[in-house]
Subunit: 274 residues, 2 copies
Amino acid sequence: MTWKAIGIFDSGVGGLTVLKEVEKALPQEDTIYLGDTARVPYGTKSPETVTRYSTEITSFLVSRDIKLLVVACNTASACALETLKKHFSIPIVGVIEPGARRAASVTRTGKVGVIGTEGTIRSSAYTKAIKRINPEIEVVTRACPLFVPLAEEGWIDNEVTRMVADIYLGGLKNQGVDTLVLGCTHYPILKKTIGESMGEGVQLVDSAEETARTVAEILRNSSLLRPASEKGNHHYFVTDVPAGFIKVGNRFLGGALGDVHQVSLEKEGTQVKP
Amino acid sequence: MTWKAIGIFDSGVGGLTVLKEVEKALPQEDTIYLGDTARVPYGTKSPETVTRYSTEITSFLVSRDIKLLVVACNTASACALETLKKHFSIPIVGVIEPGARRAASVTRTGKVGVIGTEGTIRSSAYTKAIKRINPEIEVVTRACPLFVPLAEEGWIDNEVTRMVADIYLGGLKNQGVDTLVLGCTHYPILKKTIGESMGEGVQLVDSAEETARTVAEILRNSSLLRPASEKGNHHYFVTDVPAGFIKVGNRFLGGALGDVHQVSLEKEGTQVKP
Protein backbone atom coordinates (compact mmCIF):
# COMPACT_ATOMS: atom_id res chain seq x y z
CA MET A 1 0.00 0.00 0.00
CA THR A 2 2.83 2.38 0.98
CA TRP A 3 4.37 1.97 -2.48
CA LYS A 4 1.28 2.89 -4.41
CA ALA A 5 1.09 6.24 -6.18
CA ILE A 6 -0.93 9.36 -5.39
CA GLY A 7 -3.63 9.99 -8.03
CA ILE A 8 -4.33 13.58 -9.07
CA PHE A 9 -6.88 14.79 -11.59
CA ASP A 10 -8.07 18.02 -13.14
CA SER A 11 -10.22 19.02 -16.12
CA GLY A 12 -7.00 19.92 -17.89
CA VAL A 13 -3.60 21.35 -17.21
CA GLY A 14 -4.38 23.61 -14.22
CA GLY A 15 -4.06 20.84 -11.62
CA LEU A 16 -0.34 20.67 -12.33
CA THR A 17 -0.02 23.59 -9.88
CA VAL A 18 -1.27 21.16 -7.21
CA LEU A 19 0.98 18.34 -8.46
CA LYS A 20 3.93 20.71 -8.19
CA GLU A 21 3.22 21.40 -4.52
CA VAL A 22 2.61 17.71 -3.75
CA GLU A 23 5.94 16.90 -5.37
CA LYS A 24 7.65 19.64 -3.37
CA ALA A 25 6.15 18.40 -0.09
CA LEU A 26 6.58 14.68 -0.81
CA PRO A 27 9.40 14.16 -3.32
CA GLN A 28 9.54 10.45 -2.46
CA GLU A 29 6.02 9.75 -3.76
CA ASP A 30 4.97 8.49 -7.20
CA THR A 31 2.10 10.39 -8.81
CA ILE A 32 -0.37 9.59 -11.58
CA TYR A 33 -1.96 12.68 -13.09
CA LEU A 34 -4.99 12.73 -15.38
CA GLY A 35 -6.06 15.84 -17.32
CA ASP A 36 -9.45 15.50 -19.04
CA THR A 37 -8.34 17.62 -22.01
CA ALA A 38 -10.94 16.17 -24.40
CA ARG A 39 -13.76 17.58 -22.26
CA VAL A 40 -12.17 20.63 -20.61
CA PRO A 41 -13.44 23.02 -19.22
CA TYR A 42 -15.61 21.82 -16.33
CA GLY A 43 -16.38 25.28 -14.93
CA THR A 44 -19.20 26.02 -17.36
CA LYS A 45 -20.82 22.57 -17.17
CA SER A 46 -23.58 21.21 -14.93
CA PRO A 47 -22.85 19.51 -11.57
CA GLU A 48 -24.35 16.30 -13.00
CA THR A 49 -21.97 16.22 -15.95
CA VAL A 50 -18.95 17.20 -13.84
CA THR A 51 -19.83 14.43 -11.36
CA ARG A 52 -20.13 11.86 -14.16
CA TYR A 53 -16.75 12.85 -15.62
CA SER A 54 -15.10 12.85 -12.17
CA THR A 55 -16.44 9.36 -11.43
CA GLU A 56 -15.09 8.01 -14.72
CA ILE A 57 -11.68 9.50 -14.00
CA THR A 58 -11.58 8.20 -10.43
CA SER A 59 -12.45 4.69 -11.68
CA PHE A 60 -9.54 4.91 -14.10
CA LEU A 61 -7.07 6.08 -11.44
CA VAL A 62 -8.31 3.58 -8.83
CA SER A 63 -7.88 0.80 -11.41
CA ARG A 64 -4.21 1.86 -11.56
CA ASP A 65 -3.92 1.21 -7.86
CA ILE A 66 -3.49 4.56 -6.12
CA LYS A 67 -3.37 5.00 -2.33
CA LEU A 68 -4.95 8.47 -2.23
CA LEU A 69 -6.77 10.73 -4.70
CA VAL A 70 -6.42 14.49 -5.04
CA VAL A 71 -9.26 16.22 -6.86
CA ALA A 72 -7.14 19.15 -8.06
CA CYS A 73 -9.99 20.79 -9.98
CA ASN A 74 -12.00 23.31 -7.96
CA THR A 75 -15.19 22.72 -9.96
CA ALA A 76 -14.94 18.95 -9.52
CA SER A 77 -14.12 19.40 -5.81
CA ALA A 78 -17.18 21.64 -5.46
CA CYS A 79 -19.59 19.40 -7.38
CA ALA A 80 -18.39 15.82 -7.13
CA LEU A 81 -16.36 15.28 -3.94
CA GLU A 82 -19.20 13.86 -1.83
CA THR A 83 -20.23 11.42 -4.57
CA LEU A 84 -16.65 10.25 -5.05
CA LYS A 85 -16.18 9.72 -1.31
CA LYS A 86 -19.35 7.66 -1.23
CA HIS A 87 -18.31 5.41 -4.13
CA PHE A 88 -14.59 4.88 -3.55
CA SER A 89 -12.88 3.64 -0.41
CA ILE A 90 -9.46 5.35 -0.68
CA PRO A 91 -8.87 8.75 0.99
CA ILE A 92 -9.98 11.58 -1.33
CA VAL A 93 -8.78 15.17 -0.90
CA GLY A 94 -10.37 18.13 -2.69
CA VAL A 95 -8.94 21.64 -2.99
CA ILE A 96 -11.89 23.53 -1.47
CA GLU A 97 -11.50 22.42 2.16
CA PRO A 98 -7.74 23.23 2.35
CA GLY A 99 -8.27 26.60 0.64
CA ALA A 100 -11.13 27.44 3.00
CA ARG A 101 -9.06 26.49 6.04
CA ARG A 102 -6.20 28.66 4.89
CA ALA A 103 -8.48 31.65 4.18
CA ALA A 104 -10.16 31.34 7.57
CA SER A 105 -6.80 31.29 9.30
CA VAL A 106 -5.24 34.31 7.53
CA THR A 107 -8.15 36.79 7.49
CA ARG A 108 -7.90 39.50 10.13
CA THR A 109 -10.99 41.52 9.24
CA GLY A 110 -13.22 38.44 8.85
CA LYS A 111 -14.10 39.39 5.27
CA VAL A 112 -13.00 36.83 2.69
CA GLY A 113 -13.43 37.01 -1.08
CA VAL A 114 -13.63 33.91 -3.29
CA ILE A 115 -13.25 33.85 -7.08
CA GLY A 116 -13.72 30.82 -9.31
CA THR A 117 -15.55 29.36 -12.31
CA GLU A 118 -19.31 29.64 -12.63
CA GLY A 119 -19.69 26.04 -11.47
CA THR A 120 -17.59 26.55 -8.35
CA ILE A 121 -19.24 29.85 -7.37
CA ARG A 122 -22.77 28.56 -8.08
CA SER A 123 -22.12 25.59 -5.76
CA SER A 124 -21.30 27.89 -2.79
CA ALA A 125 -18.81 25.20 -1.77
CA TYR A 126 -16.19 27.68 -0.50
CA THR A 127 -18.75 29.75 1.40
CA LYS A 128 -20.10 26.63 3.14
CA ALA A 129 -16.60 25.33 3.92
CA ILE A 130 -15.41 28.65 5.35
CA LYS A 131 -18.57 29.06 7.44
CA ARG A 132 -18.22 25.54 8.81
CA ILE A 133 -14.81 26.60 10.14
CA ASN A 134 -15.95 30.01 11.38
CA PRO A 135 -19.58 31.10 10.92
CA GLU A 136 -18.61 34.70 11.74
CA ILE A 137 -16.58 35.15 8.57
CA GLU A 138 -18.32 37.10 5.81
CA VAL A 139 -17.74 35.54 2.38
CA VAL A 140 -18.11 37.51 -0.87
CA THR A 141 -17.93 35.55 -4.13
CA ARG A 142 -17.52 36.34 -7.83
CA ALA A 143 -17.37 34.08 -10.90
CA CYS A 144 -14.59 35.15 -13.31
CA PRO A 145 -15.20 33.12 -16.49
CA LEU A 146 -12.68 35.03 -18.63
CA PHE A 147 -9.68 34.37 -16.37
CA VAL A 148 -9.20 30.79 -17.65
CA PRO A 149 -9.17 31.69 -21.37
CA LEU A 150 -6.93 34.71 -20.62
CA ALA A 151 -4.45 32.47 -18.76
CA GLU A 152 -4.56 29.90 -21.57
CA GLU A 153 -4.06 32.64 -24.18
CA GLY A 154 -0.91 33.55 -22.20
CA TRP A 155 -2.00 37.16 -21.67
CA ILE A 156 -0.36 37.29 -18.28
CA ASP A 157 1.04 40.80 -18.19
CA ASN A 158 -1.45 42.54 -20.39
CA GLU A 159 -3.67 45.60 -20.40
CA VAL A 160 -6.77 43.55 -21.31
CA THR A 161 -6.23 41.19 -18.39
CA ARG A 162 -5.77 44.14 -16.03
CA MET A 163 -9.03 45.67 -17.26
CA VAL A 164 -10.92 42.38 -16.90
CA ALA A 165 -9.49 41.94 -13.39
CA ASP A 166 -10.65 45.43 -12.42
CA ILE A 167 -14.18 44.67 -13.68
CA TYR A 168 -14.41 41.31 -11.92
CA LEU A 169 -12.70 42.32 -8.68
CA GLY A 170 -13.99 45.87 -8.20
CA GLY A 171 -16.96 44.74 -6.14
CA LEU A 172 -14.88 42.49 -3.86
CA LYS A 173 -12.40 45.31 -3.34
CA ASN A 174 -15.13 47.80 -2.47
CA GLN A 175 -16.55 45.40 0.07
CA GLY A 176 -13.19 45.45 1.86
CA VAL A 177 -12.13 41.80 1.82
CA ASP A 178 -8.60 41.34 3.20
CA THR A 179 -8.18 37.79 1.84
CA LEU A 180 -8.95 36.46 -1.64
CA VAL A 181 -9.19 32.74 -2.42
CA LEU A 182 -8.00 31.89 -5.96
CA GLY A 183 -10.65 29.21 -6.37
CA CYS A 184 -9.49 27.83 -9.72
CA THR A 185 -6.18 26.14 -10.49
CA HIS A 186 -5.62 28.46 -13.46
CA TYR A 187 -5.76 31.64 -11.43
CA PRO A 188 -2.31 31.47 -9.78
CA ILE A 189 -0.93 32.17 -13.30
CA LEU A 190 -2.66 35.58 -13.13
CA LYS A 191 -1.61 36.14 -9.49
CA LYS A 192 0.38 39.30 -10.22
CA THR A 193 -2.45 41.06 -12.07
CA ILE A 194 -5.08 39.88 -9.58
CA GLY A 195 -2.90 41.08 -6.68
CA GLU A 196 -2.35 44.50 -8.24
CA SER A 197 -6.05 44.88 -8.95
CA MET A 198 -7.00 44.00 -5.35
CA GLY A 199 -4.31 46.32 -3.98
CA GLU A 200 -1.77 45.93 -1.21
CA GLY A 201 -2.85 44.38 2.05
CA VAL A 202 -5.09 41.77 0.42
CA GLN A 203 -3.69 38.28 0.89
CA LEU A 204 -4.14 35.85 -2.02
CA VAL A 205 -4.83 32.24 -1.03
CA ASP A 206 -3.86 29.52 -3.47
CA SER A 207 -5.22 26.12 -2.44
CA ALA A 208 -2.35 24.12 -3.95
CA GLU A 209 0.12 24.48 -1.08
CA GLU A 210 -2.45 23.82 1.63
CA THR A 211 -3.78 20.82 -0.30
CA ALA A 212 -0.29 19.31 -0.48
CA ARG A 213 0.03 19.79 3.28
CA THR A 214 -3.27 17.94 3.81
CA VAL A 215 -2.12 15.06 1.58
CA ALA A 216 1.15 14.73 3.53
CA GLU A 217 -0.74 14.76 6.83
CA ILE A 218 -3.19 12.02 5.79
CA LEU A 219 -0.45 9.76 4.46
CA ARG A 220 1.67 10.33 7.57
CA ASN A 221 -1.23 9.62 9.92
CA SER A 222 -2.06 6.40 8.02
CA SER A 223 1.61 5.35 7.86
CA LEU A 224 1.36 5.38 4.08
CA LEU A 225 4.37 7.57 3.35
CA ARG A 226 7.20 6.08 1.34
CA PRO A 227 10.67 6.35 2.91
CA ALA A 228 12.01 9.90 2.54
CA SER A 229 15.13 8.53 0.80
CA GLU A 230 13.08 7.49 -2.27
CA LYS A 231 12.68 9.51 -5.45
CA GLY A 232 9.15 9.48 -6.88
CA ASN A 233 8.17 8.97 -10.52
CA HIS A 234 5.46 10.94 -12.28
CA HIS A 235 3.09 9.65 -14.91
CA TYR A 236 0.73 11.76 -16.97
CA PHE A 237 -2.46 10.84 -18.82
CA VAL A 238 -4.73 13.00 -20.93
CA THR A 239 -7.96 12.35 -22.86
CA ASP A 240 -7.14 14.44 -25.95
CA VAL A 241 -3.90 14.12 -27.93
CA PRO A 242 -1.00 15.14 -25.66
CA ALA A 243 0.58 17.99 -27.72
CA GLY A 244 -1.33 20.93 -26.20
CA PHE A 245 -1.01 19.58 -22.66
CA ILE A 246 2.74 19.12 -23.05
CA LYS A 247 3.18 22.67 -24.30
CA VAL A 248 1.19 24.39 -21.55
CA GLY A 249 2.20 21.80 -18.91
CA ASN A 250 5.88 22.51 -19.38
CA ARG A 251 5.10 26.20 -18.82
CA PHE A 252 3.40 25.21 -15.52
CA LEU A 253 6.16 22.86 -14.36
CA GLY A 254 9.16 24.71 -15.72
CA GLY A 255 9.91 22.19 -18.44
CA ALA A 256 9.96 19.14 -16.18
CA LEU A 257 6.98 17.26 -17.66
CA GLY A 258 7.66 13.59 -18.43
CA ASP A 259 5.93 11.24 -20.87
CA VAL A 260 2.24 11.93 -21.46
CA HIS A 261 -0.13 9.18 -22.63
CA GLN A 262 -3.59 9.49 -24.13
CA VAL A 263 -6.44 7.41 -22.69
CA SER A 264 -10.09 7.01 -23.59
CA LEU A 265 -12.47 7.11 -20.62
CA GLU A 266 -15.77 7.13 -22.46
CA LYS A 267 -16.06 3.56 -23.65
CA GLU A 268 -16.47 0.67 -21.30
CA GLY A 269 -13.05 -0.63 -20.32
CA THR A 270 -10.56 2.25 -20.33
CA GLN A 271 -7.95 1.93 -23.05
CA VAL A 272 -4.49 3.40 -23.12
CA LYS A 273 -3.67 4.36 -26.69
CA PRO A 274 -0.23 3.28 -27.87
CA MET B 1 -37.67 10.88 -47.71
CA THR B 2 -39.11 14.36 -48.43
CA TRP B 3 -40.74 14.40 -45.01
CA LYS B 4 -37.60 13.70 -43.05
CA ALA B 5 -35.97 16.46 -41.01
CA ILE B 6 -32.75 18.39 -41.60
CA GLY B 7 -30.13 17.54 -38.97
CA ILE B 8 -27.89 20.33 -37.65
CA PHE B 9 -25.11 20.06 -35.10
CA ASP B 10 -22.65 22.30 -33.31
CA SER B 11 -20.34 21.99 -30.30
CA GLY B 12 -22.85 24.10 -28.40
CA VAL B 13 -25.24 26.94 -28.92
CA GLY B 14 -23.47 28.84 -31.73
CA GLY B 15 -24.93 26.73 -34.52
CA LEU B 16 -28.35 28.17 -33.77
CA THR B 17 -27.29 31.12 -35.98
CA VAL B 18 -27.20 28.60 -38.86
CA LEU B 19 -30.50 26.99 -37.79
CA LYS B 20 -32.09 30.46 -37.83
CA GLU B 21 -31.06 31.04 -41.45
CA VAL B 22 -32.15 27.54 -42.51
CA GLU B 23 -35.52 28.18 -40.91
CA LYS B 24 -35.79 31.55 -42.65
CA ALA B 25 -34.93 30.04 -46.05
CA LEU B 26 -37.00 26.85 -45.62
CA PRO B 27 -39.82 27.46 -43.11
CA GLN B 28 -41.57 24.28 -44.26
CA GLU B 29 -38.76 21.98 -43.07
CA ASP B 30 -38.45 20.11 -39.77
CA THR B 31 -35.07 20.39 -38.07
CA ILE B 32 -33.29 18.35 -35.40
CA TYR B 33 -30.49 20.27 -33.68
CA LEU B 34 -27.81 18.79 -31.44
CA GLY B 35 -25.50 20.93 -29.28
CA ASP B 36 -22.65 18.97 -27.65
CA THR B 37 -22.75 21.12 -24.51
CA ALA B 38 -21.11 18.48 -22.29
CA ARG B 39 -17.93 18.65 -24.36
CA VAL B 40 -17.95 22.21 -25.73
CA PRO B 41 -15.71 23.87 -26.95
CA TYR B 42 -14.25 22.05 -29.97
CA GLY B 43 -12.00 24.91 -31.12
CA THR B 44 -9.19 24.12 -28.68
CA LYS B 45 -9.27 20.34 -29.16
CA SER B 46 -7.38 18.07 -31.56
CA PRO B 47 -8.73 17.14 -35.03
CA GLU B 48 -8.84 13.48 -33.88
CA THR B 49 -11.08 14.25 -30.90
CA VAL B 50 -13.30 16.65 -32.89
CA THR B 51 -13.71 13.98 -35.57
CA ARG B 52 -14.64 11.33 -32.99
CA TYR B 53 -17.25 13.61 -31.40
CA SER B 54 -18.64 14.62 -34.81
CA THR B 55 -18.99 10.98 -35.85
CA GLU B 56 -20.87 10.12 -32.64
CA ILE B 57 -23.25 13.03 -33.19
CA THR B 58 -23.83 12.20 -36.84
CA SER B 59 -24.66 8.57 -35.89
CA PHE B 60 -27.20 9.90 -33.42
CA LEU B 61 -28.84 12.25 -35.93
CA VAL B 62 -28.81 9.68 -38.74
CA SER B 63 -30.49 7.19 -36.39
CA ARG B 64 -33.29 9.76 -36.08
CA ASP B 65 -33.77 9.61 -39.83
CA ILE B 66 -32.62 12.91 -41.28
CA LYS B 67 -32.45 13.66 -45.03
CA LEU B 68 -29.50 16.06 -44.88
CA LEU B 69 -26.90 17.05 -42.27
CA VAL B 70 -25.55 20.53 -41.63
CA VAL B 71 -22.26 20.65 -39.73
CA ALA B 72 -22.87 24.11 -38.26
CA CYS B 73 -19.63 24.15 -36.28
CA ASN B 74 -16.66 25.66 -38.13
CA THR B 75 -14.10 23.55 -36.24
CA ALA B 76 -16.01 20.32 -36.97
CA SER B 77 -16.46 21.39 -40.61
CA ALA B 78 -12.73 22.05 -40.85
CA CYS B 79 -11.60 18.83 -39.14
CA ALA B 80 -14.27 16.19 -39.65
CA LEU B 81 -16.27 16.87 -42.85
CA GLU B 82 -14.32 14.51 -45.11
CA THR B 83 -14.54 11.65 -42.60
CA LEU B 84 -18.28 12.17 -42.15
CA LYS B 85 -18.87 12.21 -45.92
CA LYS B 86 -16.96 8.95 -46.20
CA HIS B 87 -18.95 7.19 -43.46
CA PHE B 88 -22.50 8.43 -44.03
CA SER B 89 -24.51 8.35 -47.22
CA ILE B 90 -26.83 11.38 -46.76
CA PRO B 91 -25.80 14.80 -48.14
CA ILE B 92 -23.58 16.63 -45.62
CA VAL B 93 -23.04 20.40 -45.74
CA GLY B 94 -20.34 22.20 -43.75
CA VAL B 95 -20.05 25.94 -43.16
CA ILE B 96 -16.54 26.41 -44.59
CA GLU B 97 -17.31 25.89 -48.28
CA PRO B 98 -20.31 28.31 -48.34
CA GLY B 99 -18.36 30.95 -46.37
CA ALA B 100 -15.39 30.61 -48.70
CA ARG B 101 -17.62 30.93 -51.78
CA ARG B 102 -19.22 34.05 -50.41
CA ALA B 103 -15.86 35.62 -49.51
CA ALA B 104 -14.42 34.87 -52.94
CA SER B 105 -17.42 36.47 -54.61
CA VAL B 106 -17.51 39.70 -52.58
CA THR B 107 -13.80 40.63 -52.40
CA ARG B 108 -12.77 43.35 -54.82
CA THR B 109 -9.11 43.69 -53.83
CA GLY B 110 -8.50 39.92 -53.72
CA LYS B 111 -7.35 40.10 -50.10
CA VAL B 112 -9.53 38.10 -47.70
CA GLY B 113 -9.15 37.78 -43.93
CA VAL B 114 -10.39 34.75 -41.98
CA ILE B 115 -10.83 34.58 -38.21
CA GLY B 116 -11.81 31.48 -36.22
CA THR B 117 -10.87 29.14 -33.39
CA GLU B 118 -7.38 27.68 -33.11
CA GLY B 119 -8.64 24.38 -34.56
CA THR B 120 -10.22 26.03 -37.59
CA ILE B 121 -7.26 28.30 -38.33
CA ARG B 122 -4.70 25.52 -37.79
CA SER B 123 -6.55 23.35 -40.31
CA SER B 124 -6.19 26.00 -43.09
CA ALA B 125 -9.61 24.79 -44.28
CA TYR B 126 -10.81 28.27 -45.29
CA THR B 127 -7.57 29.12 -47.07
CA LYS B 128 -7.72 25.88 -49.07
CA ALA B 129 -11.42 26.33 -49.88
CA ILE B 130 -10.97 29.95 -51.04
CA LYS B 131 -7.92 29.06 -53.13
CA ARG B 132 -9.81 26.18 -54.77
CA ILE B 133 -12.34 28.77 -55.96
CA ASN B 134 -9.76 31.38 -56.95
CA PRO B 135 -6.05 30.71 -56.46
CA GLU B 136 -5.29 34.42 -56.99
CA ILE B 137 -6.97 35.47 -53.75
CA GLU B 138 -4.59 36.21 -50.89
CA VAL B 139 -5.88 34.82 -47.58
CA VAL B 140 -4.73 36.15 -44.20
CA THR B 141 -5.84 34.22 -41.10
CA ARG B 142 -5.92 34.82 -37.34
CA ALA B 143 -7.13 32.63 -34.45
CA CYS B 144 -9.17 34.64 -31.93
CA PRO B 145 -9.60 32.31 -28.91
CA LEU B 146 -11.03 34.97 -26.59
CA PHE B 147 -13.98 35.90 -28.84
CA VAL B 148 -16.03 32.82 -27.83
CA PRO B 149 -15.72 33.35 -24.05
CA LEU B 150 -16.37 37.09 -24.52
CA ALA B 151 -19.54 36.35 -26.52
CA GLU B 152 -20.65 33.79 -23.90
CA GLU B 153 -19.93 36.26 -21.09
CA GLY B 154 -22.30 38.62 -22.93
CA TRP B 155 -19.69 41.39 -23.18
CA ILE B 156 -21.05 42.51 -26.54
CA ASP B 157 -20.75 46.28 -26.32
CA ASN B 158 -17.79 46.53 -24.04
CA GLU B 159 -14.42 48.27 -23.83
CA VAL B 160 -12.59 45.00 -23.14
CA THR B 161 -14.06 43.35 -26.23
CA ARG B 162 -13.10 46.38 -28.34
CA MET B 163 -9.54 46.20 -27.05
CA VAL B 164 -9.31 42.44 -27.70
CA ALA B 165 -10.72 42.96 -31.20
CA ASP B 166 -8.10 45.64 -31.93
CA ILE B 167 -5.32 43.28 -30.79
CA TYR B 168 -6.57 40.33 -32.81
CA LEU B 169 -7.59 42.25 -35.92
CA GLY B 170 -4.84 44.88 -36.14
CA GLY B 171 -2.63 42.70 -38.36
CA LEU B 172 -5.47 41.81 -40.76
CA LYS B 173 -6.41 45.47 -41.02
CA ASN B 174 -2.85 46.54 -41.74
CA GLN B 175 -2.58 43.97 -44.50
CA GLY B 176 -5.52 45.64 -46.21
CA VAL B 177 -8.10 42.86 -46.44
CA ASP B 178 -11.45 44.13 -47.78
CA THR B 179 -13.42 41.04 -46.70
CA LEU B 180 -13.40 39.25 -43.35
CA VAL B 181 -14.87 35.77 -42.86
CA LEU B 182 -16.38 35.25 -39.39
CA GLY B 183 -15.22 31.64 -39.24
CA CYS B 184 -16.93 30.66 -35.98
CA THR B 185 -20.66 30.60 -35.28
CA HIS B 186 -20.18 32.68 -32.13
CA TYR B 187 -18.59 35.61 -33.91
CA PRO B 188 -21.74 37.12 -35.50
CA ILE B 189 -22.73 38.07 -31.92
CA LEU B 190 -19.67 40.37 -31.85
CA LYS B 191 -20.29 41.63 -35.41
CA LYS B 192 -20.67 45.27 -34.41
CA THR B 193 -17.39 45.43 -32.47
CA ILE B 194 -15.50 43.40 -35.10
CA GLY B 195 -16.86 45.65 -37.85
CA GLU B 196 -15.87 48.83 -36.02
CA SER B 197 -12.40 47.47 -35.35
CA MET B 198 -11.87 46.55 -39.02
CA GLY B 199 -13.22 49.91 -40.16
CA GLU B 200 -15.60 50.93 -42.93
CA GLY B 201 -15.25 49.31 -46.30
CA VAL B 202 -14.44 45.86 -44.91
CA GLN B 203 -17.25 43.42 -45.63
CA LEU B 204 -17.98 40.82 -42.94
CA VAL B 205 -18.96 37.38 -44.21
CA ASP B 206 -21.10 35.21 -41.97
CA SER B 207 -21.37 31.64 -43.29
CA ALA B 208 -24.86 31.03 -41.89
CA GLU B 209 -26.86 32.66 -44.69
CA GLU B 210 -24.79 31.15 -47.48
CA THR B 211 -24.97 27.72 -45.81
CA ALA B 212 -28.77 27.92 -45.69
CA ARG B 213 -28.78 28.79 -49.40
CA THR B 214 -26.64 25.71 -50.12
CA VAL B 215 -29.00 23.50 -48.11
CA ALA B 216 -32.03 24.81 -50.02
CA GLU B 217 -30.27 24.25 -53.32
CA ILE B 218 -29.32 20.64 -52.55
CA LEU B 219 -32.81 19.74 -51.38
CA ARG B 220 -34.40 21.44 -54.38
CA ASN B 221 -32.08 19.69 -56.85
CA SER B 222 -32.80 16.33 -55.22
CA SER B 223 -36.56 17.00 -55.07
CA LEU B 224 -36.40 16.60 -51.31
CA LEU B 225 -38.13 19.86 -50.35
CA ARG B 226 -41.37 19.65 -48.43
CA PRO B 227 -44.32 21.57 -49.93
CA ALA B 228 -43.94 25.31 -49.24
CA SER B 229 -47.36 25.34 -47.55
CA GLU B 230 -46.08 23.25 -44.62
CA LYS B 231 -44.87 24.62 -41.29
CA GLY B 232 -41.75 22.90 -39.92
CA ASN B 233 -41.17 21.73 -36.36
CA HIS B 234 -37.89 22.14 -34.50
CA HIS B 235 -36.41 19.70 -32.02
CA TYR B 236 -33.38 20.36 -29.84
CA PHE B 237 -30.99 17.96 -28.13
CA VAL B 238 -28.03 18.71 -25.89
CA THR B 239 -25.48 16.54 -24.07
CA ASP B 240 -25.32 18.53 -20.81
CA VAL B 241 -28.40 19.54 -18.81
CA PRO B 242 -30.49 21.92 -20.95
CA ALA B 243 -30.67 25.00 -18.65
CA GLY B 244 -27.63 26.89 -19.95
CA PHE B 245 -28.44 26.11 -23.58
CA ILE B 246 -32.00 27.33 -23.16
CA LYS B 247 -30.85 30.62 -21.63
CA VAL B 248 -28.25 31.45 -24.27
CA GLY B 249 -30.25 29.80 -27.08
CA ASN B 250 -33.24 32.05 -26.51
CA ARG B 251 -30.88 35.02 -26.79
CA PHE B 252 -29.74 33.66 -30.18
CA LEU B 253 -33.24 32.88 -31.48
CA GLY B 254 -35.11 35.78 -29.92
CA GLY B 255 -36.97 33.65 -27.39
CA ALA B 256 -38.34 31.13 -29.89
CA LEU B 257 -36.53 28.01 -28.61
CA GLY B 258 -38.79 24.97 -28.12
CA ASP B 259 -38.34 21.92 -25.90
CA VAL B 260 -34.76 20.84 -25.32
CA HIS B 261 -33.89 17.23 -24.42
CA GLN B 262 -30.69 15.85 -22.96
CA VAL B 263 -29.04 12.84 -24.61
CA SER B 264 -25.99 10.76 -23.81
CA LEU B 265 -23.74 10.02 -26.80
CA GLU B 266 -20.81 8.42 -25.04
CA LYS B 267 -22.15 5.00 -24.17
CA GLU B 268 -23.02 2.46 -26.78
CA GLY B 269 -26.66 2.88 -27.78
CA THR B 270 -27.60 6.55 -27.46
CA GLN B 271 -30.14 7.20 -24.76
CA VAL B 272 -32.59 10.07 -24.50
CA LYS B 273 -32.99 11.03 -20.85
CA PRO B 274 -36.60 11.47 -19.74
